[in-house]
């Protein structure tokens, strides 16, 4: 029964399961790890089926073999009983013969008791043994002969006894002397012996079969147990692998999550910085644009005041003679020669200044829009070029710019770096103390994934409260004895921010400044 279901299940398995599994893999975009090792994968199903089959085979084989054993045991006891009864038949007949002989000798009725008992019991015993010998034709024939001969023997004995009872004792002895009874008895003995041998053979056969059964049962149990153990090991291994995959997938997700958070944080910081830069820029621009506008408005209103003065004077003039005329004439002269040209001059200066500011803002905006391209840039080369551009401004007395150590090569925007170092070195020339020889030192080092560069000068230095302010647009520090718009350092910082770096200053007023630049060794993707 079980042997029929198992091939079906096995035949189903390789066809159906992968057919279900394949489209599932195509549909889901989930990590392949999870899908491939889902608990219902073809492999797992196969293992489950094999395991179940192993169990079923054990149960079925045990049932069948136990049944066979039981049947054999019944057979054995039946055979034993049969053999015993057959021997009893021989004994009964021998008893009957002894009884017959005794009676013939003594003619005493008491000797006939065993004979009578045999006569009474024999048919029953023969009937009992009959089924035992029906299995094969040889024993069947032997048994038939046993029945016939025992009947003939009983008839012979009955006849001699009957003759004796009838007083024909001599006739009875003569009959015995024919030896027919003796030969029948010999035949019976041989038959019983043969039947015994046959039964023993069959008993042996049963024992052998049982031994075979036990061996087969043991074999089936051992092999099935082995299969189950193997399947269990396979399932255990699959579960372990599946669990491991889940754990590693979760770890991957966690790592992704963490890096995502770090990325979000980084971007948020960038945005916050950009936002505050824009606010600061808007504040500065609005202030610096408004300052000349205040002049335009103020002097326009001054001009209209002047106009009123002139109008009054002309009205008075048209009306004719008036005592206040000479005073008004002086006032009008003052307005025309002094106040009005002054106001016009201020308005003109202010509008020019506004125009300049707007141009500067446009220039900055254009700079900010320039597409940066990352390429290998040798900072040593950049600095040497920047030094070369200002070499002619060095004075006497060993003035100069020294690159202290070999500067690293970075992956960044070349033009931006040119402008950064150009501006810094320009400043060191502009804000030097003329009384002492200028010395500028450039040094750099790589720290992890970042580059640190220092530009140190012995110039006039920057007051502490201006250390941040100098990087703001249009802001300058200290005495305003040099030309400039307050753009350079703001531009430097904006460029460094775009390259993923920053700049700050350490300075002591009157002694010098150290501009400290940090930037990535490899600029992250420019946006």
């Amino acid at each position: 029964m079980n042997d029929f279901t198992s091939p079906e299940a096995q035949a189903k398995n390789p066809e159906n399961v992968p057919a279900q599994g394949m489209p599932q893999q195509e549909q889901t975009a989930l990590p392949a790890v999870l899908d491939r090792n889902s608990p219902l994968s073809p492999l797992t199903l196969l293992l489950l089926v094999i395991g179940s089959l192993g169990l079923l085979i054990i149960v079925a084989a045990s049932f069948i073999l136990l049944n066979a054993t039981n049947h054999d045991m019944n057979d054995l006891s039946r055979l034993r009983d049969g053999a015993a009864t057959t021997n009893q038949i021989l004994t009964l007949l021998q008893n009957a013969e002894s009884s017959q002989r005794g009676y013939l000798l003594t003619q005493d009725e008491r000797y006939l008791e065993p004979f009578n008992a045999t006569k009474e019991q024999l048919p029953e015993k023969l009937r009992q043994t009959h089924p035992v010998y029906q299995e094969n034709p040889r024993t069947k024939e032997l048994f038939t002969r046993l029945v016939t001969i025992s009947q003939r023997k009983m008839d012979e004995m009955s006849e001699t006894i009957a003759l004796t009872k009838a007083g024909k004792r001599q006739e009875a002895i003569e009959f015995v002397k024919t030896n027919s009874g003796f030969y029948q008895m010999e035949n019976l003995r041989t038959l019983v012996g043969e039947l015994d041998t046959d039964v023993n053979r069959r008993v042996d056969e049963r024992f052998r079969r049982q031994n075979d059964n036990v061996f087969a049962l043991r074999l089936v149990t051992i092999s099935s147990t082995l299969v189950i153990v193997l399947v269990l090991a396979g399932v255990f291994w699959l579960i372990l692998r599946f669990t491991n995959n889940i754990i590693s997938a979760r770890r991957d997700i966690e790592i992704l999550n963490d890096s995502l958070e770090a990325k979000v944080e980084e971007r948020t910081l960038d945005l916050l910085r950009a936002n505050s830069e824009i606010q600061r820029f808007a504040y500065i621009v609005s202030h610096d644009l408004r300052a000349p506008l205040v002049n335009v408005m103020g002097f326009t209103s001054e001009l209209s005041t002047n106009l009123t003065t002139l109008r009054e004077f002309i009205e008075k003039l048209e009306k004719g003679k008036d005592d206040s005329l000479p005073a008004l004439l002086d006032e009008a002269k003052f307005v025309i020669h002094e106040e009005m040209p002054e106001a016009l001059q201020f308005i003109r200066t202010s509008t020019t200044k506004m125009d300049g500011l707007i141009n500067t803002i446009l220039k900055l905006s254009r700079e900010g829009r320039r597409v940066l391209t990352a390429e290998p840039v040798d900072l040593n080369h950049v600095c040497e070029q920047a030094v070369g551009a200002i070499r002619h401004q060095f004075g006497e007395g060993g003035e100069g710019i020294m690159i202290e150590n070999r500067l690293p090569v970075v992956i960044s925007d070349r033009l931006a770096l040119d402008q950064i170092f150009g501006n810094l070195l320009d400043n060191s020339i502009k804000y030097r103390i003329p009384a002492r020889p200028l010395h500028v030192t450039i040094r750099g080092k790589v720290s992890g994934k970042r580059v640190l560069i220092e530009v140190e000068d012995n110039g006039r230095g920057i007051a502490p409260q201006d250390h941040e302010r100098i990087f703001e647009l249009f802001r300058r520090s200290g005495a305003q004895d040099q030309p400039g718009e307050g753009l350079g350092l703001a531009h430097v910082r904006a460029l460094l921010h775009r390259l993923g770096g920053d700049i700050k200053v350490v300075s002591t007023l009157g002694q010098g400044s150290i501009f400290q630049i940090t930037m990535p060794l490899v600029a992250r993707k420019f946006e």
Binding site: N295, G298, F346, S477, A479
Partner: protein
């Protein structure tokens, strides 16, 4: 003391020449005749206010009124305000802050530091003149017994 009778000196710290000129014109138009000393940078203004010893003793007998622009080329007006208000002999001097922005935080900061009036440019010159006149008159009353 005789020195107390000295008129109020107006110290104007304003880097924009045009603004300075406009302020002066309007002060004069309001009838204030006090001497005005103009500075375009914070450094010389502070040097004058605090004197060579940095204690402001030079001006101890002359009450100043300070007109202060917050955006100066070499330092911020806030720096000057802080220094003035932390100087024993100057801290009672009235300070009028002039600026082009109306950033609330900045206004608050100036008042916290002790500024008396905060005026946003472009100014309503009439109100500006009134403020000057009142502070000026107030000072005159204080200084001339």
């Amino acid at each position: 003391m005789d020195d107390q009778a000295k008129p109020v000196l107006i110290i104007m710290i304003e880097d924009d020449e045009g603004h300075a000129r406009l302020i002066e014109k309007n002060i004069r138009r309001a009838g204030v005749r006090n001497e005005i000393r103009a500075f375009t940078h914070g450094t010389p203004a502070l040097a004058f206010l605090l004197g060579p010893d940095g204690q402001g003793m030079v001006n101890s007998n002359q009450a100043p009124l300070i007109l202060l622009d917050l955006n100066l080329p070499d330092m911020t007006g806030i720096d000057i305000l802080q220094k003035v208000k932390s100087c024993e002999s100057l801290k009672r001097a009235p300070v009028i802050v002039l600026t082009t922005t109306d950033d609330q935080r900045e206004i608050q900061r100036c008042y916290d530091l002790g500024a008396n009036v905060y005026i946003t440019k472009p100014v309503d010159y009439e109100n500006f003149s009134n403020a000057i006149r009142q502070l000026g008159l107030f000072l005159s009353v204080m200084q001339i017994p």
